[in-house]
Amino acid sequence: MPDPKLPGLKQLQHIVVLMMENRSFDHMLGSLKTLNHAVDGLDGTETNPDSTGVPVSVSPTAEYQSQLDPDPDHHFPAVDLQIFGGVATAQNPNRTPNMQGFVKSYFNQQHSVKHSHLIMNYFTPDKLPVLSKLATEYAVFNRWFSSIPGPTLCNRAFAHYGTSFGQVSMDVFYWNKQFKSIYERLNEAGHSTRLYYYDEASSSLEVVNLLKNQPSLFGTFQDFLDACDKNELPEYSFIEPNYTDHDSPDGMGELIASDQHPDHDVRAGEQFIADVYNAIRNNPKLWPNTALLIVYDEHGGIYDHVPPPSCTPDTPFVAQPSATGTPDPFYFDRLGVRVPAVLVSPWVKRGSVINDVFEHASIPATITNYFLGNYPQRSMREQAANTFLGYLDQPAIRPEDQCPKFKNLK
């Protein structure tokens, strides 16, 4: 429980969450270990066996685009293989989360041994100047895991609702009235909140419930930028990147995907993260009282070396084998693969490395606890989730010249 007397918390008025797409921690930030040994990243000795049994080492040769095509499988059965190395059932005593099935899983898609090795590639800090700089200048989470060892939509559901209502797939017609979204909770209590999708042609992934039933909750990314400029930022903002390469709806040009989902160019996502950061950072009326969390929804089938831990089951939800595509039911009692997560605020100690365990249910847990306080009608997973505002723990705000600035090149 964070100390409400912390100066950073006394000032805090806005929380912004930017959720990117489909990259693992080691793939994006694993090389930071070379700069700071407290980061649980890669030392270069990590391997995975390929389909011929040959060990494949991690390699600092990730490219911005073209290596991860086809899109690595990250549906539940594939992630189960990636985590457990192919020991498929809990009846087998050898089933342990050894993170040894990533190359085998990628091989299953094209049956190309050579191509399957690319799943072990990672970026060096110089190739990701924005994410790496924010991670080293503010706080990086060593243990932020996706909520489910599965794909995007069920994981994003945890960020909105603190649960996926028992779903482990993309076929997420999950909404029910049992648990309200964080936006509905805030609205009903008189707090301001928005989901900002990139534009109407990219839109939101939260279609079936919120966009359909509560469209006034939404805005575009331009609306977010305008809100920052006008000092009208809601108390809680959730930002979705551009999910597709598409013509601008107003016919004014071409808009490149910025979500970093394979095989979209990672640099476009870097610039997008910089845009979000700059909008807050460059406004002196926002910067001291805003916390920004940058997090990825899931690992996208890409290698990470840290086994996901067990967690509080999301009782009463159970996904049966027909849903998981594996021999066993899933009780939502294990987290998914680790993802990059960075907490940005001038009240965060430079170079912080956070070792507590987090998952996406930590997002509504944090927002609810901060703005609403006691709120019992929450999922078991959200009730158990750690919250992250306690890291705004510096006695004084960091000086202006100690907080990085970015300029996007054209």
Partner: protein, 121 residues
């Protein structure tokens, strides 16, 4: 601290003819689910072209999003909304009674389901 320059994507990176990912297919599926519940009049403005590429998906999503943002949903929106431009007067303090617990609690043994899957991996 020096300003950090962020390189742009390559000129060749933009590919609006790229086939849709599973993510966009799921997004389209959800929009179709909503569209099927609209009245024939409401559906008139929705393009019915073949959707295989990212740009084709974007054109359809654009039309559906505009329609939904105009307030045409299956159920009328009834949120208690307040203007987002609410003045920020006093500094906020965290609400009292924050309940935080470890999220990595050891899993408890579960009663296994009697159903057995015949699915192969």
């Amino acid at each position: 601290m020096e300003v950090i320059h962020v390189p742009p994507p390559s000129k060749q990176a933009f590919h609006k003819g790229r086939p849709m990912s599973d993510l966009i297919k799921a997004q389209i599926k959800h929009f179709k689910h909503v569209e099927e519940r609209l009245s024939p009049q409401q559906r008139e403005s929705i393009p019915q072209h073949r959707i295989t590429t990212e740009n084709e998906a974007a054109q359809y999503i654009h039309a559906m999003t505009r329609l939904l943002r105009s307030g045409v949903g299956e159920q009328p929106a009834k949120p208690k909304l307040i203007p987002i431009s609410a003045k920020k007067s006093a500094a906020r303090t965290p609400a009292k009674g924050l309940a935080i617990a470890a999220s990595a609690a050891p899993s408890k043994p579960h009663k296994k389901s009697k159903s057995k899957s015949s699915k192969k991996k």
